[in-house]
Structures are given as structure tokens and as C-alpha cells.
């Protein structure tokens, strides 16, 4: 039964260790903490590490790797809707005529 797949304890332990190591990495490459300066890449690296961590949590803790692919389809569609939300707002942001605020 796909939903009742028992994942070995060692897999969970290794995922936890990887997640903690990536958290330390997140802090180590943060400019306010270590002074590591890679320009715009600082932000991209931070988001990249966060996404790897999110991927690990989803694949193993939330069992997407082993589960019914229906759930994977739901999460992929969620990400697409999120991209739509970001995309449309960004188009609006980039194409908007400057507004002179009196605030």
C-alpha cells in the first residue's frame, strides 16, 4: 500500500542531519553574520538553500517521494499558482507609471 510505506529510521535521521547542516550553511553565508558578500547572489543562495531544505522536508518527512503521485501533482499546481500570483504582481509592478505620493 503506497500510503503505508514504512521508511527506515536511518533515512529520517540522515534527512534531519542534512537539514541542520543546511541551516548552519544558511547562517554561514549570510552577509549580516559572516560578511560573505556575493551581491545579488547572497539572496539567491539563501533562497536556493531554503528550497533544498523545503524539498527534503517534502520528499521524506511529507513522504512525497514514496507516496501517491496525486499529492505531488497538488503541490506542483500550488507552486504554479504561487508563481502566477508573483508573476502578475511583478508585471503590474514593472509596468506601472510612477505614482507621486503625497504621504
Amino acid at each position: 500500500m503506497s500510503g503505508h510505506h514504512i521508511i527506515p529510521f536511518s533515512v529520517y535521521r540522515n534527512v534531519l542531519l542534512a537539514l541542520l547542516a543546511l541551516t548552519i550553511l544558511t547562517v554561514a553565508v549570510a552577509k549580516p553574520v559572516s560578511g560573505f558578500d556575493a551581491g545579488v547572489f547572497n539572496f539567491l543562495i539563501a533562497m536556493g538553500i531554503a528550497s533544498v531544505k523545503a524539498g527534503l522536508v517534502m520528499a521524506f518527512f511529507m513522504q512525497l517521494k514514496y507516496d501517491n503521485k496525486l499529492y505531488l501533482a497538488i503541490i506542483v499546481s500550488t507552486v504554479l499558482f504561487l508563481a502566477l500570483l508573483f508573476g502578475i504582481v511583478m508585471i503590474d509592478w514593472a509596468s506601472r507609471a510612477p505614482v507621486m505620493s503625497t504621504l
Binding site: 500500500m1 500510503g3 503505508h4 514504512i6 521508511i7 529510521f9 529520517y12 535521521r13 534527512v15 534531519l16 537539514l19 541542520l20 541551516t23 544558511t26 547562517v27 549570510a30 552577509k31 549580516p32 553574520v33 558578500d37 547572497n42 539572496f43 539563501a46 533562497m47 538553500i49 531554503a50 531544505k53 523545503a54 522536508v57 517534502m58 521524506f60 518527512f61 511529507m62 507516496d67 501517491n68 496525486l70 499529492y71 497538488i74 503541490i75 499546481s77 500550488t78 499558482f81 504561487l82 500570483l85 508573483f86 504582481v89 509592478w93
Partner: protein, 218 residues
């Protein structure tokens, strides 16, 4: 009929499902759809964050300096550990080890308390200094960037919504502990444990993004 009075008899399932697995998969499907709406709700706040951060970069860089990344990092580790113990509680339920399952749920709940305790200390410290959202901002120290209240509006809204999810998750875990202690979870039935676990992992997932965005802005 026994299914009406005792819909969850050992290895049983409610009458409108084909079998126990059908019921389990249906419950999980519902939870995943709910998690989808949760992501989209937080998505609105993330969009707001990126727009404000793009328009007022100095405000966000200075705002983040009032946050202590050490608290954020410890809270990240605590939540990751709690996600680990949450999956272990399911793992032990699957292996019919009720006692260990309950213990893991208690550790998960304890991690929730530690997280909220640290959050409480952080909030109290900021409230005392007057680092408050929007117009309530009344910090009297030296301020460089304009409109720091905007940063703290974003901070309180995102961490507040996340924190309320942690509290709801803790309540659900208490419910799971009560049921687990009654010995309701075993290799044949652990649906609520699985669904509460998925919710708890989502709360963890959102924090994974919030931590670098709020604490480590460059």
C-alpha cells in the same frame, strides 16, 4: 450496524469507503488540498514582503538588524527537530509501538513550546523598545532608514500568522497524544497522526523561508 456506532473499530473503515486504504488516501487528499490553500494564503504575504523589500531595501536591511539571528537559528533547529520527532511518532505507530509513539508526540509538543517561548521573548523585547508595526512604531533610538514601521508590520504579520499556526498545530498534537495514549494508533490506523504531521511539516516549511528572509536580510 457496527460501523455506525463504531466507525473506527480495529482495522475498520467508515461505511462510505471501499476499504481502510481508500479512507486513508481520501483523508490525505483533503489535507493536501488544505495545505495548498495555506501556501497561497502565506503567498500573499510573501509577495508583499518582496514588493516592500524591493521598494525600501534600506528599511529592510536596517529592520533586520533589530532581530537577533541566533534566536531565529535556534528556532529553525527546534522546528526541524520537531518535524523529525513527528515523523518518528508515525514510524512507531506503523510499528505498533504505542509508548514510543506517545513519547515522540510529547517531544514534538515540547519543541512547539520552546519555539513559542523564544518567539515570546523576541516579541516582548521589541515591544519594550517600541519596535512596533506601522504607525505604532515608537522606537526612540537612532534610526537611519525611513518608515521602519513598515518592516515591523511585515515582521509581525508573517511571524504572527506563522506563530498562530504553530499554536493550532500544538493543539492538534495534544489531541493526537490523547488518542495515541488510548492506543488508537497502530499499523492499520494512523490517519489523523499522518494528517496532523503533514500540517506540522508545512508550518516547518514556511519557517524555513521566513528565517533567511526576515533575520538575514542583506
Amino acid at each position: 450496524m457496527s460501523t455506525v456506532n463504531k466507525p473506527r473499530s480495529e482495522g475498520g473503515h467508515a461505511f462510505h469507503f471501499d476499504n481502510a486504504e481508500h479512507e486513508f488516501e481520501t483523508s490525505k487528499f483533503g489535507i493536501w488540498l488544505f495545505l495548498c490553500t495555506e501556501v497561497l494564503m502565506f503567498g500573499g504575504l510573501f509577495v508583499a514582503y518582496f514588493l516592500f523589500e524591493h521598494k525600501f531595501p534600506e528599511t529592510f536591511i536596517e529592520g533586520a538588524t533589530y532581530l537577533d539571528w541566533k534566536f531565529g537559528a535556534v528556532n529553525t533547529a527546534v522546528l526541524l527537530l520537531s518535524s523529525f520527532t513527528m515523523v518518528l511518532s508515525i514510524y512507531y505507530a506503523q510499528n505498533n509501538k504505542t509508548k514510543q509513539c506517545v513519547n515522540m508526540l510529547f517531544i514534538t509538543l515540547g519543541c512547539g513550546f520552546i519555539f513559542m517561548g523564544i518567539k515570546y521573548l523576541e516579541y516582548m523585547h521589541k515591544i519594550e523598545l517600541g519596535l512596533l508595526p506601522g504607525e505604532m512604531f515608537s522606537f526612540t533610538g537612532e534610526v537611519g532608514a525611513s518608515n521602519l514601521g513598515l518592516y515591523f508590520s511585515t515582521y509581525y504579520m508573517m511571524t504572527g500568522l506563522h506563530g498562530s499556526h504553530v499554536l493550532v498545530g500544538m493543539g492538534l498534537i495534544v489531541w493526537c497524544i490523547v488518542r495515541a495514549r488510548r492506543g488508537e494508533y497502530n499499523s492499520k490506523y494512523f490517519t489523523t497522526l499522518e494528517c496532523v504531521g503533514l500540517f506540522w511539516h508545512l508550518v516547518d516549511l514556511i519557517w524555513i523561508y521566513l528565517f533567511p528572509l526576515l533575520y538575514l536580510v542583506d
